[in-house]
């Protein structure tokens, strides 16, 4: 039985209809492909170029400022000379404090949301809250920290208040990274564990979290290194214009690298004169942040190797 459409398709020449002889030939299609790939490659190169340019500027203008004294001494002569040690210590302290706050709370929230909570109304609201938290501008976090930690909780301008503020800002990043890491743990691990008579908690603690750990830690460190470079959240809560002393308690106020750059570049009386110091400080900040990222990456690959 043959219907008419089949008849017309096969045509007089039988199987070969010639429909592929017309239209865009292979050369044209190849040229279109080349064009698009070239454009996309260009887009990808812009990223590398931007990072390269930033590093080039910082290195070329800041490297003269870097010296042993610069890294180990407090500023002197109204911050036109001397070093930035209090800023380095302050920023490291803030980053460590923030991770100490945000990592446990963030991981616990993500485990609850991903492994335990049923997908009801409350979890939807919590998730909505988290994703909105991620969109709050950093200066708002700064004002919140000032109002809540410094004033209401009475912490004053301190390392603790700054770390809590940065921690709050990093929470959504850590929750997001942890949820991603938990989702990448195969369900078959969970099933195998439960099938042996493990409780859900034992399954999470002994199988799921260890498998997700590399992802969680890298996410956390990337989030913190991002936060460590922020100025707005700490300028009201932790950082001061100038203090020569190294903080001895978490209730001390601190200097911090990003705020120091801001101060030198905008608020001094000798802005031009301190230009090299500004670039030097920026270089140290970038080195610190990239260093943290590097640690995260090395640690992750080590953990992954161990698990194989």
């Amino acid at each position: 039985m043959k219907d008419s459409s089949e008849e017309s398709l096969s045509g007089e020449n039988g199987r070969i209809t010639g429909i592929f002889d017309k239209g865009a030939g292979l050369n044209v299609r190849r040229r279109i492909q080349t064009l698009w790939f070239t454009l996309f490659r260009g887009a990808a190169l812009v990223n590398g170029f931007a990072l390269g340019l930033i590093l080039f500027f910082m290195l070329s203008r800041g490297w003269q400022a870097i010296s042993w004294e610069f890294l180990t001494q407090p500023p002197r002569d109204s911050m036109t000379a001397g070093g930035i040690l209090p800023c380095i210590i302050g920023t490291l302290g803030l980053a460590l404090g923030a991770i100490a706050v945000a990592l446990p709370i963030g991981v616990a929230s993500a485990v609850y949301l991903n492994e335990y909570a049923s997908s009801g109304k409350i979890t939807r609201i919590i998730r909505l809250g988290i994703s909105n938290l991620a969109g709050v501008p950093s200066v708002v976090f700064g004002l919140f920290g000032l109002a809540f930690f410094c004033i209401i909780l009475g912490m004053g301008v301190s390392l603790a208040a700054g770390a809590l503020t940065l921690g709050a800002m990093t929470l959504p990043v850590i929750i997001g990274a942890t949820e991603e890491a938990l989702k990448s743990v195969p369900d078959t691990y969970r099933e195998a564990s439960l099938g042996l008579g493990a409780t859900r908690w034992q399954t999470i603690w002994r199988v799921v979290l260890p498998s997700a750990l590399p992802g969680i830690l890298t996410g956390a460190i990337l989030g913190i290194s991002r936060a460590a470079g922020e100025t707005a959240p700490i300028m009201f809560t932790a950082a001061v214009f100038f203090t020569p002393k190294i903080p001895s308690s978490i209730m001390d106020e601190v200097m911090a690298l990003p705020y120091h750059i801001y101060v030198l570049a905008t608020a001094g009386t000798s802005i031009e004169q301190t230009r090299p110091l500004q670039y030097g400080t920026a270089l140290v900040l970038i080195a610190l942040v990239l260093g943290m990222n590097l640690v995260a990456i090395i640690y992750r690959s080590k953990l992954r190797k161990k698990m194989r």
Partner: protein, 253 residues
Amino acid sequence: MEKKWKMQAKGLNFYYGNFQALYDIELGFRERDVTALIGPSGCGKSTFLRCLNRMNDLIPISRVEGEVLLDDKNIYAPSVDVVRIRRRIGMVFQKPNPFPKTIFENVAYGLRVNGVRDKNIIAGQVEKSLRQAALWEEVKDRLHESALGMSGGQQQRLCIARALAVEPEVLLMDEPASALDPLATQKIEELIHELKRFYSIIIVTHNMQQAARVSDTTAFFYMGRIIEVGETDTIFTNPKNRQTEEYITGRFG
């Protein structure tokens, strides 16, 4: 001389949300018997298998009606602790799924989570289980290497050893050889023959020859219902139902 029922499903209905996946399943499993569940993809045989150790509890929108008896006690009764049930009813999955831990720790895992602390007992049980799974000779010198470095067939036997270590009474196997090559498959089948002496085994398989080779009883599932159940020899040589015959002879499914 009839062996007694180890497990029985009675009037079992299963729903994913509004979709009913199993209809009125009545099926018994005898002690130290191998029962094969066969049927085309999506017929509900894996869903049924997962009802037998309450693995389906994990699916939030699912719902079960009816009873599953283990030694005449309903495992869905409210007083029953699902964690205890799952230790008594072991499961082996379609894809080998060893934990990213050492070979030793994989087998020891079930002991540890069930509260066994004594190192000597754990070591002894690990060796016994690996021997039962016919894996000991191959891995005894590398117990503390990662399980993920083993071949697929070895991994699956490791998963069997891991399940045996907690001394289950029933072993559920969800297409345990479908991801393995023929040689590894043969080893698993030989293993099932050995294990049958101690355990009641329920195996889901897509492989008709495998069902015929390893099982004593066969149940044919289609569209969420049991179409026919009987002795494997009878099912494969003289099925009563036309659909069963068409399926086992490869005319559909």
